[in-house]
């Protein structure tokens, strides 16, 4: 190598990688080389206006990530050596980890797939490079989570079939369908859905409760991968905001298209996060904050401020945000009631809140909780005491868009189930809300194809008509499911507590 060769600085390297590597094709027209980035109607006049505030280069990326991996795996090793599974607050906590492992970890993998497609799909090289880095990040998140949770799998139930039940289980079709909806859209809608709505607008409602919940409840393994992923996430959030601003600045015709996507993905994201809110309110033995409070801070303050910022581009608040805010007093209780009565068909345990937790819920949720949900739980406790633990044996109607059982109630009447109908091609489809119905009615050709678990069970495609057959088809064992108290996890935990007391 020549001694006087000039070394490139980082910004020159970035410039070469994201601009210098790109060219106008001549053997084939550009529209054939990049067939996916125009059909959604988004108009880009100058891809060079793309700004990536991180300007990552390959060598910088490998260096940062390798450093993080070294630290992460050192801690995971010590988790194993120190039997840290015994330091968690209570074995009920692990059901929060199971929800994450079963429902969210596969989304990391789905994100890896989606961003790989984008890393090929955009004709601007700067955007392609950012998406390729994110694809690698997401694969890393998937792997580190599986590695971290593998330790719990040695002791506790519900961790051993995450890949299979992700594809089959009714309650996991909620997160699964969210990403598949995005992946079957075009690249601009995907990045709006995932990078902006999910990672930028709603991430604090997802990551914060889980990672700080883990820290609060003595779960070193989860806390560590959470922090390790956090610096990646801040890059992903920035990408989300940049892409939305980029689309809005490139052409005024993009504004109504982006607005429709924001409407749709706000509502889909909100519906999905109900599951995480339920985890916060019910599955963390040591609470971080309630869903209501998190919604007020992260949406009503921060989210609304963000949308106010976007107003200068002609963007308004997402449709149905008022309904989401109105539901903050009920959504997690309705969701927990549902998981509680269907937990015999999940790889999760459920339970009724104890007295102290009931007081906390009353304090956080006030009058409606005391009037409606508390007496419900008290009645179920009565049934339990009589040896008649409450399980629902009949399949429920499920929303054709968000794929959640329609436990939802009318915005102005929390005592009455809502169930809306749209007819398409002579077939009726049921939805949980005006938000989901709008999404269906906008693209009925797409949502009429949805794979809705109870419908598939009744059509005979899921191993049989009985719950036992269905559970076998899911590869969920008896001992993975149902009531927490008396479960194998519960018994093991009690045994550890008794041993610790003797020492």
């Amino acid at each position: 190598m020549a001694k006087n060769q000039r070394r490139l600085n980082l910004s020159q390297k970035y410039q070469l990688m994201t601009r210098g590597l790109d060219w106008e094709t001549t053997y084939q027209p550009m529209d054939k080389v990049f067939p996916y980035d125009k059909y959604e109607g988004i108009k880009i006049t100058d891809w060079d206006k793309w700004q990536d505030p991180f300007r990552l280069t390959m060598d910088a990326y490998w260096k940062y990530q390798a450093e993080k991996e070294r630290k992460l795996y050192a801690i995971l090793d010590s988790v194993v050596q120190n039997n840290s599974q015994q330091n968690i607050s209570d074995a009920r906590y692990l059901n929060a980890v199971k929800i994450w492992m079963q429902g969210v970890t596969p989304l990391e993998y789905a994100a890896f797939r989606g961003f790989n497609m984008l890393g090929r799909g955009f004709r601007g090289a700067g955007a392609r490079v950012a998406c390729q880095f994110q694809a690698i990040d997401e694969m890393r998140h998937y792997q580190t989570q599986v590695h971290a949770f593998a330790h719990y799998n040695k002791f506790f139930n519900g961790f051993n079939q995450h890949a299979r039940i992700r594809d089959r289980a009714w309650y996991l079709s909620i997160p699964k369908s969210y990403f598949e909806d995005a992946m079957t859209a075009g690249p601009f809608e995907f990045i709006t859905a995932i990078s902006f709505s999910f990672e930028y607008v709603l991430t604090n409602l997802l990551f914060m409760p889980f990672v700080s919940g883990a820290a609060h409840n003595g779960d070193m393994a989860t806390t560590t991968f959470g922090f390790s992923a956090q610096s990646d996430e801040s890059r992903h959030m920035t990408l989300g905001l940049e892409i939305v601003k980029f689309m809005l600045e490139q052409h005024e015709d993009n504004v109504p298209i982006v607005q429709e996507w924001l409407d749709k993905w706000f509502w889909r994201g909100y519906r999905l996060l109900g599951l995480i809110g339920t985890m916060m309110d019910y599955m963390l033995p040591k609470k971080v904050m309630s869903w209501r409070q998190a919604w007020e801070i992260y949406w009503e303050e921060n989210g609304v401020a963000l949308f106010n910022d976007l107003a200068r581009y002609g963007i308004r608040m997402p449709k149905h945000h008022e309904t989401a805010t109105r539901e903050k007093y009920r959504i997690t209780h309705e969701f927990w009631s549902t998981i509680y009565q269907f937990s015999h068909a999940t790889a999760l345990y459920t339970w009724l809140p104890d007295e102290e937790e009931m007081d906390w819920l009353c304090a956080e949720y006030g009058e409606l909780f005391e009037k409606l949900y508390k007496p419900r739980y008290e009645y179920w406790r009565e049934l339990d005491a009589r040896g008649e633990r409450f399980f629902q044996k009949r399949l429920p109607v499920v929303c054709n868009v968000c794929q959640i059982p329609i436990f939802h109630t009318y915005p102005d009447d929390p005592c009455k189930n809502i169930c809306l109908v749209s007819e398409y091609k002579g077939t009726k489809h049921q939805m949980c809300s005006e938000g989901c119905k709008d999404i269906f009615d906008r693209e009925p050709e797409k949502y009429c194809q949805a794979y809705i678990p109870p419908q598939q069970i009744y059509q005979g495609n899921c191993g049989g008509a009985t719950l036992e057959d269905y559970r076998k088809w899911l590869h969920i064992r008896d001992e993975d499911a149902g009531e927490y108290y008396g479960s194998e996890d519960n018994q093991l935990w009690e045994k550890w507590q008794a041993e610790a007391a003797r020492v």
Partner: protein, 120 residues
């Protein structure tokens, strides 16, 4: 509005079309204000089934753990089909009552509005 797509057409059948039910149909029904049962129920039934039989032998037993279940008189119910007012004929079949594939039936029973009358 309609979906945007690449290529000449975008045309797929509904995954829950009646043809997939081997002569039966799919049906949804809820007893309002009995929210300990969280959601409307789903049924695979024959359209030729008698409506009273469906109610008493299939639907009602699903609410077995609710204290209202023994007090209910369906004849006094207030009925809706697809969220519209509707008067069923108990002696006729589901089909003859205009109940179709994927129909949604709602019944409320004034005076029986769940435990403590609050919708549970």
């Amino acid at each position: 509005m309609t979906v945007k797509f690449i290529g000449d057409s975008y045309d797929f059948p509904c995954s829950n079309r009646v043809e997939n039910y081997g002569g039966d149909m799919n049906l949804y029904m809820v007893w309002d204000h009995h929210l300990i049962y969280c959601a409307p129920n789903a049924y695979r039934v024959s359209g030729d089934m008698n409506f009273r039989d469906f109610l008493e032998q299939v639907f009602q037993p699903d609410y077995a753990q609710h204290p209202d279940v023994d007090k209910v008189d369906w004849e006094k119910g207030v009925w809706q089909l697809e969220n519209q007012g509707w008067t069923p004929d108990f002696s006729k079949s589901l089909k003859e009552n205009n109940i179709a594939h994927n129909s949604f039936i709602r019944v409320s029973t004034p005076g029986l509005e769940g435990m403590h009358g609050v919708g549970n």
